[in-house]
């Protein structure tokens, strides 16, 4: 009896593992194909990148999420400052709030929160859009017209999430810093805000900024890729589209956190 349950468990773990491997494999193939078509779009005159659809996607992904990114990141700055003040005050170090917010914000919190917002904002809508296209046979129609869906649909969307993460990350970094400064002016007092910008500048190095930016770019790539993969693999009508949207957000967040962890380990090992 116990053996049987164990066997079921092993079976289930096995099935999950195979499922995960298949997912990663499928998404990797999509990535390879996306990179291939992007490259051909850049070098081959016959396969031009569609600038208009790229621009449309960038507006949809980036511009429309700008407000919410600023809002959320500003509040992250406020939260950080308020949370850190009491313990730091015990050591008379509350002015270091600026240094800590700078490092935490630029290195990690800026890119990661922006990515989470974008996965819910842009990722979900990309998955829903492509999923709806699958359901209404538009993808099949493209294929039948010898128009490659990766080239026409995936490339502009992945490029848009990638570039928009690169552009939004510095803005997010600034908003965290501003949020911290704002709450210091309003609540925490001159011991924190007097030297706020100077301390932050002294603390921050270029690697702080660029490691954050790199991660932002990779998160953007992951969001676009997962959203397109989920969208293009929709099966079974409207229900499938709903499932794909949800799973896009879930898998994106998992992928973002895993990537962040990997990067952190790498940066730690290489002392970046």
């Amino acid at each position: 009896m116990a053996d049987e349950t164990n066997l079921k468990l092993v079976e289930r773990i096995g099935a999950r593992t195979i499922g995960a491997a298949r997912y990663v494999g499928g998404a990797s193939l999509l990535l390879a194909s996306t990179v291939g078509w992007t490259f051909r779009g850049l070098v081959s005159p016959k396969v031009r990148l569609d600038h208009r659809s790229l621009a449309t996607q960038m507006v949809r992904v980036g511009v429309r999420s700008l407000g919410i990114v600023c809002l959320v990141q500003g509040f992250i700055g406020v939260i950080l400052a308020l949370q850190m003040e009491p313990p730091l005050k015990q050591f008379e170090q509350q002015s270091q709030i600026a240094s800590i917010i700078g490092v935490a914000g630029f290195r990690m919190l800026g890119p990661i929160f922006t990515a989470v917002i974008l996965s819910g904002f842009a990722g979900a809508s990309i998955a829903a859009e492509l999923g709806t296209m699958v359901v209404s046979e538009e993808i099949e129609a493209m294929d039948a017209m010898a128009l490659n869906p990766v080239r026409f649909l995936v490339v502009p969307r992945v490029l848009a999430t990638l570039t928009m993460m690169l552009l939004l990350t510095p803005i997010a970094d600034m908003m965290i810093a501003l949020g911290g400064y704002g709450i210091s002016r309003g609540v925490l007092g001159p011991s924190v805000y007097n030297e706020y910008w100077k301390l932050m500048q002294n603390m921050l190095t270029y690697p702080d900024f660029f490691t954050g930016l790199t991660q932002g770019g990779v998160f953007g790539l992951l969001i676009g890729l997962i959203a397109c993969y989920e969208g293009l693999n929709v099966r079974g009508g409207a229900e499938g589209v709903g499932r794909a949207t949800t799973m896009t957000v879930v898998y994106s967040i998992v992928a973002i956190v895993l990537a962040a962890c990997t990067f952190t380990v790498l940066f730690y090992v290489f002392e970046l």
Binding site: E137, E138, A146
Partner: protein, 296 residues
Amino acid sequence: MRVFFTMTDNDNNANRDDREPVIEVRGLVKRFGCHTVLSGVNLDVYPGEMLVIMGGSGCGKSTLLRHLIGSYIADEGTVKLFGQNVAELDDAAYDEFKKRFGVLFQSGALFNSMTVGENVALPLKEHTDLDDATIDIMVKIKLEQVGLRQAEDLMPSEISGGMKKRAGLARAVSLDPEILFYDEPSAGLDPVTSAEIDFLMMDLARKLGVASVVVTHEMDSAFRIADRMIMLDKGNVLMDGPRSDFEALRDSGLTGAPAKDTVRQFLRGDSEGPITQRRQNSGFEDDILNAAAGID
């Protein structure tokens, strides 16, 4: 003069037509998991003819069509387009083939982010070297052919189901194809609109001289447009012949041959016959098995 054969007896195949078929399917088998959807389908499509593939819902009509347009690869058997086995083509070569046929999907499958005109222009933009002005003129001509010139600047969401199909048709013929495929062209349309689409299909077939393959389960439409008909059932071709044969069978009495009577019931839309009986029997067996499984 073409000599048609009535039922699927292969010894007549030789004197059937001197011309090369544009599509030749032999022994096509397709399985999804353990579910065999097509079990050895044979099929020829000749230049300029209108072939109607009929069959009940879920019998594999769309699956068969997807093999013809290259969306699915056969598990067994061969699909030849223009005399070339498609399994031997690489992606680039297949893309060239795809430019020689047009497909109208069930929903029209217009790209919702583009206007009707842009939809029709897309294949021309991507697959020809024509300049924008020429493409613009060609789009107007194609839209005129399907009676949609006034809708050029509308978005797909702003037009009716019938208009979407017309627009899809204009897009399908934009590259002057040699074969046109239709999946359930009259599904979801009122009888008048459906008849209009039928006449449009016949009109295009005549004007462009294309071969047409139409999947449908609407009998009125099938008898209106078909030169030749094929009845598909449970993944097999039950009957293949000219429209007159099917008309004769529809208007005849019961034949006593199970295959013929199945086709006859389908053509007449009778509520009693071999199809209904089969369903009842299979339901009964399932019920008994389920009940038996619940006993222990």
